[in-house]
């Protein structure tokens, strides 16, 4: 086959097409990575969720009785799904992006004509893919143990989308600053996990003393878990509208931060 060489530089219109194909390529690469290593990406959350449902839902939950007007298993199911979405969205982007930095193949993207905001969006889309896949798996596990009604599908979709978006961006920023593999486990272990456990996954904050309820309102995960739970059960400890405003605000702030870091070349360009 004779190779035809490019004779002219692409136009700005060509660049818009380049951006779209480039974005698809990043997402496809992330999807292939997630499915290639499914035993590390999709299976563990399903196993963990099964353990949670067996221990907290079936064994301990039976003694707890109802919460928010629903049996305990039903009450915690949306929270457990959201917990897996948060952890996996974050984990996917931080490991993929830091891995690309560590292996230097991030340079494939840095030397390409793709703009920085699109590279960020591509990785975030990878986090969304993982979040949705894992969320789907955990929902499937939940359905083995309990019945899940749907109160408002739009709220469910928007809550999971914004939450996954926010934590994918969090993973990206962590990946930018990380200098070794310890640094990519530090934030999930010492910040994300405590915030998730205190974010109303397993309880209603109405059970807490007044000061703890006030403190809980500083935890963004509380709004994510409760808006998601509202979508299923129609009950929430916080106003759903306020929750979406907080999630949307966080998404904007983190996106601007991530693109700013890319533009400055933090951790990427000398």
């Amino acid at each position: 086959m004779t190779v035809q060489l490019t004779e002219a530089s692409p136009s700005r219109t060509d660049l818009a097409r380049t951006d779209w194909i480039g974005f698809q390529t990043i997402v496809r690469r992330e999807f292939n990575r997630i499915t290639r290593i499914w035993a590390q990406t999709l299976l563990p959350p399903a196993v963990t969720a099964t353990l949670y449902f067996v221990i907290f839902g079936s064994l301990i939950g039976r003694r707890i009785g109802s919460m928010g007007g629903y049996d305990y298993m039903q009450y915690i199911a949306p929270g457990l799904i959201m917990m897996s979405v948060i952890t996996n969205s974050f984990g996917n982007v931080v490991s993929s992006f830091f891995g690309a930095r560590f292996g230097k193949h991030i340079e494939e993207l840095l030397v390409s004509p793709l703009p920085n905001w699109l590279i960020v969006l591509g990785y975030v889309a990878g986090g969304l893919v993982r979040g949705f896949l894992v969320g789907g798996c955990v929902t499937g596990v939940a359905l083995f143990f309990t019945h899940l009604q749907i109160h408002h599908i739009g709220v469910i979709a928007l809550a999971v989308l914004l939450t996954s978006f926010v934590f994918s961006l969090g993973g990206f920023i962590n990946g930018v600053f990380a200098k070794n593999f310890d640094h990519i486990s530090w934030f999930p272990t010492f910040i994300l996990t405590p915030l998730t456990y205190f974010g109303g996954v397993f309880y209603s904050i109405s059970m807490l003393p007044a000061w703890a309820q006030t403190a809980s309102h500083l935890n963004p995960i509380l709004y994510m878990v409760n808006s998601f739970r509202y979508g299923f059960l129609g009950v929430s400890d916080v106003d759903v509208g306020v929750s979406f405003m907080i999630m949307g605000g966080l998404a904007v702030v983190l996106f601007v931060t991530a693109v700013g870091l890319m533009n400055r070349g933090t951790g990427l360009r000398e």
């Binding site: 190779v3 490019t6 530089s9 690469r29 004509p113 000398e270």
Partner: protein, 310 residues
């Protein structure tokens, strides 16, 4: 319009090292250009700036008329780069690496697959298309990086020591491939420590040392600047001492071998005539060192020392 235009390019790293001290460089379209220099001279920094992996401190860079300050994406779309270090995902297959790279440059999937096949075949990697990159040999990895740099069919190909660590057979195959690529119209900039490689392939050469360009001319003009060349001559019968040849400096390194310095105004025929007149039979003759290497060493050793560079 130049393929690459660099004006007063400076780079000072955060640690204070001044890697580039205001270099000017122009590469014409279709050129095969050698950018040479010792380790730490500023070659990789220059390439890093052109490909946006390193941020410049000052100066201007444009690629086919696209200034990297105002039209970075357009400039980058014209460039294919083969870096010094392996920088592809070692866990992906050769085929995936190429199709993805094409995608990053906006090549539709179907075309990307066709080009992947073309370039993997051209670089003798088609049989390895399903192999995980990590499992490839050093030479295969180098060829994969060249294929990856070409898959979006750039107008300017930049190779930063592409043949480092590969055996001579593969190196010569790669030279042939690069020569064909250049003949198809791709402008090539090559940095290398193998000066024979630069002399064989490149028509234009710039030598950079301590962040400054100390030579920039046609390869033929640069080589003309050599005042003298040293030849090694093997003789059939052993000699007790170096023969006296008027106008030539002659040294005996062992009974069968001597070195003769020949200035550029003298021919070689005269040497053979004079040796034959003394009854000395010549068996073989060769250059003592590569000509460009000889010039390179002279230029670099005479370049003023002005601090270390990255």
């Amino acid at each position: 319009m130049d393929a690459l235009s660099i004006e007063q390019l400076t780079k000072r790293y955060a640690n204070g090292v001044e890697a580039l001290k205001g270099i000017d460089l122009k590469v014409r379209p279709g050129d095969f250009f050698a950018l040479l220099g010792p380790n730490g001279a500023g070659k990789t920094t220059t390439i890093g700036i052109v490909t946006s992996l390193v941020r410049k401190t000052g100066g201007r860079v444009s690629v086919f008329g696209h200034d990297i300050d105002t039209e970075l994406e357009l400039a980058k779309s014209c460039i294919g780069v083969v870096p010094q270090e392996i920088n592809f995902n070692q866990f992906e297959t050769a085929e995936t690496i190429l199709t993805n790279q094409a995608g990053f440059y906006g090549i539709p999937r179907r075309v990307a697959r066709e080009r992947t096949e073309t370039y993997l075949k051209q670089l003798s990697l088609w049989d390895k298309r399903h192999a995980i990159a990590r499992s490839l040999s050093g030479g295969m990895k180098r060829r994969l990086m060249i294929a990856r740099a070409l898959v979006h069919e750039p107008r300017l190909l930049i190779l930063d020591e592409p043949t480092a660590g590969v055996d001579i057979e593969i190196r010569r195959t790669m030279w042939e491939f690069l020569r064909e690529t250049n003949e198809r119209g791709v402008t090539i900039i090559l940095t290398t420590h193998y000066l024979e490689e630069a002399e064989t392939l490149c028509r234009q050469v710039a030598i950079i040392d301590k962040g400054r360009i100390i030579e920039n001319d046609l390869m033929s003009n640069v080589l003309m600047k050599l005042q003298a060349k040293t030849f090694v001559i093997n003789v059939r019968s052993p000699l007790a001492q170096a023969p006296v040849l008027a106008g030539y400096a002659c040294r005996l390194t062992d009974p069968h071998t001597m070195e003769i310095d020949v200035t550029k105004d003298r021919g070689l025929n005269d040497i053979f005539v004079r040796l034959a007149a003394q009854g000395i039979e010549t068996v073989s003759m060769r250059n003592k060192v590569n000509r460009l290497e000889e010039l390179f060493m002279r230029l670099v050793s005479h370049s003023p020392a002005q601090g270390a560079s990255k």
